[in-house]
Symmetry: C2
Subunit: 451 residues, 2 copies
């Protein structure tokens, strides 16, 4: 009875073996009856493209929608683009409105309209409510399955109303109290319903200061609210206070996971929707762009070195040591940058304390700059038997670490103000600065002293 | 009624103004009545050390425990280390068992024992259950407030039993069905209780294949289970199947958030518990270590360059261009590394598909290597009017990108096997390899062709 993620592995291994042996009937059986849709999705995500195609063709059409919603965007898009409207309709008819909305947003407009046209009026209307909001807002994240009640009935009536249901919507921890024209005026946690006197009125028991979320709220702010108030679900309201739907914690967990992945992936110039097994051609194209961006910064650093070719020719030790100056600056700067990016994301960093952070980073860079400058200078002096060289590299290290601290602190703040994602571009810009300044300081000082 | 994280800011601004004006009584009032404990914690985390001390002293002692549990580990440790047992007991008496256990694990053993001795027997026993497990396991994450019922009573009895409570534990979505000797045999979702016939027995309605989590399960596996099954809470059982407690989604969300932060922070050699406003001295010491590690790798690269001083003296253009070779390798390698680390974390990468990934990465590196080798060679030829130089740098780029792909794929797989965190050490090792190979290939080929 005890569940463990590793229990899946033996079944996947058996499935892979069956696939390799070409026992497709067996594979089909395992896919459609042996595994939950979320596991089938995981299996597809863990499979190189060619085998993935074979597996996908073996999934029953009416299960494909269930599986699709768990796949990452990259793979979803590939599969969706190949289905015709009829297949789409049959694959998606059992999905929740929010999941269906997410899928539809990846389709061409004409296909979306066809799918909408094939739906029942009520279902279509619900879907259109969700589709009216961008995918990354509370409105795009919400579901329309909220249970609503009126304020002037007794809890006993509520209990009887609930009992009329076959089952309650997943993750229902709260009933939403609305007026006759659907204005949200309160919430009744199910756990309070269970411990209260059944003869009381909803109005007497309900929460009126519950968290409610405006439909245009950004999804990362939605996640912050859920975390702060330990929410399991929350109602979404329009600008006029009308109830539009509700967001549940499982969708918020996905948001948190995706945002976290986004930061890690974008630091390497990658897309967080990226399929681990994306084919060669797509991978090459995407990566080429990032290499190109970095090549520009590398040529800028090279141009700086180019200014000092004469000096290098006279003192080749400079060429040996110069990457150390650039590298220490880059590492120190990326530490500052990372702390600042996290601080901004957590809401710790505001106008009033940036100055404190900047002075701390500058002091830290002086302390660490002096420490490592001494170490590096000592090694350089011993290595090349040249005191001047030691003094020059020490000075260059301190200068570059100071610039790294300055840039690492102010750059993310500035990027944030300009609404540019600091995780994506911060490190590239920072490294350019520490490379250019590092080579400039080291080779420039050397030119002064040696020529 | 609509909540928004930005609503907090005006209150924080007023509080900061009061603090600057020295209106401490007003600050005290705002801290203890105007703000929720989670907001006070956020305020403390957003404040430099000196003001933080002033603010903390103004928080009422009986509120301090509530605030402490929301603070990050770094700050918690500082505050906890200064409280005496009496203060600790009064600050922590209103905490949940899991939060209390987390706090106690940061205290010296003698203090923990004193706090335990001051507790009531039942409470102490619960706490000891949680303390028996490492903090990062299901056992350390669980709470002991699960509501349990017996299988052979009717739902009507269950409903009456619930009504006897003043309130139910937070995030109770399920009642756990246990035998007389506390063996977990099923679960009864509250939402099923509400829609079922009250005359039925628990045994007839309960789930017997619910997810239950072994106490020693790693917290990141717990998170995977919650995500996979969209759980709100889950029971934790001992090896003998006895119910020990339950984990709720709010604690799992914290785990997900912390794991995500861990990856980003450790890539810069930082600790995810790091206080954004850590004082100069602590910050310098921690950062110095990472700079030292990177210095070793920088000197290794320098040593490689040192082997070719003679060549550089004859062709200084090599010094100008060599950082480009190293940098392109580093960027390409970190892309591969990031994709692999994520693939491993998501469970996509297993023995059988590493070979596919490796060949894709190698092909991609050849394609991108050829593309950018041509571009770089063209620029080099025009810049230095030297065809040989173009050929040499083109070859070096292709070689380094191949090595980057090889290392970026196999390194995280190997580190994972050795149980070393690839996020922390992966990039350092990779960059060392691409620097060393980059310089070696470029300068080595140059030595062959020019000397």
């Amino acid at each position: 009875m005890s569940q463990n993620p590793s229990r899946l592995q033996p079944r996947l291994d058996r499935l892979n073996a069956a696939l390799e042996n070409g026992a497709l009937d067996q594979v089909r059986r395992m896919l459609n009856r042996g595994l939950a849709p979320v596991d089938v999705a995981h299996l597809l995500e863990s499979t190189p493209p060619r085998e993935r195609e074979v597996l996908w063709a073996l999934v029953d059409p009416e299960l494909q929608g269930d599986v699709l919603q768990y796949l990452n965007d990259d793979i979803q898009t590939v599969f969706l683009s190949r289905m015709d409207t009829q297949q789409l309709v049959s694959a998606t008819e059992r999905l929740d409105v929010d999941d269906l909305a997410d899928l539809l947003q990846r389709l061409p407009n004409t296909v979306t309209l066809e799918v909408l046209a094939s739906m029942e009026a009520q279902e279509r209307q619900r879907l259109e409510t969700v589709l009216a909001y961008p995918e990354d807002t509370a409105g795009g994240l919400m579901n329309t399955d909220a249970l609503t009640i009126r304020p002037d009935i007794t809890l006993d009536v509520v209990l009887r109303y609930l009992r009329r249901h076959e089952r309650l919507p997943d993750t229902t921890d709260t009933l939403l109290v609305v007026t006759r024209d659907d204005k949200l005026i309160g919430s009744l946690p199910i756990n309070r319903l269970l411990v209260s006197d059944p003869s009381m009125l909803v109005r007497e028991v309900m929460d009126t200061d519950m968290v409610s979320i405006a439909a245009m709220t950004d999804e990362s702010d939605v996640a912050k609210l859920f975390e702060k108030f330990d929410l399991v679900s929350a109602p979404v309201v329009g600008t006029d206070g009308h109830l539009l739907g509700r967001i549940t914690i499982d969708d918020v967990v996905d948001v948190i996971r995706e945002n976290a992945e986004h930061q890690v992936m974008s630091m390497a110039g990658l897309d967080d929707d990226e399929d681990t097994f994306a084919p060669v051609w797509r991978t090459s194209r995407r990566r080429a762009v990032w290499l190109g961006v970095n090549l520009i910064t590398a040529f800028m650093a090279a141009a700086v070195i180019g200014l000092f070719e004469g000096t290098i020719q006279r003192v080749t030790a400079l060429a040996v040591l110069m990457p150390i100056v650039a590298s220490m600056g880059g590492i120190a700067g990326s530490q500052t940058l990372t702390v600042l990016i996290r601080g901004i994301a957590l809401g710790h960093v505001s106008g009033s304390n940036v100055r404190w952070l900047l002075s701390r980073e500058l002091i830290v860079s002086v302390l660490n700059g002096l420490l490592w400058a001494l170490v590096i200078a000592a090694i350089a002096v011993v290595w090349f038997d040249d005191l001047t060289l030691g003094a020059i590299i020490a000075a260059a290290i301190v200068i570059n670490l100071l610039i790294a601290a300055l840039c690492g602190t102010l750059l993310p703040v500035a990027l944030k103000k300009l609404d540019i994602d600091p995780a994506l571009s911060g490190n590239v810009i920072l490294t350019t600065v520490t490379d250019v300044i590092g080579f400039m300081a080291f080779l420039g000082l050397a030119t002064l002293f040696y020529l």
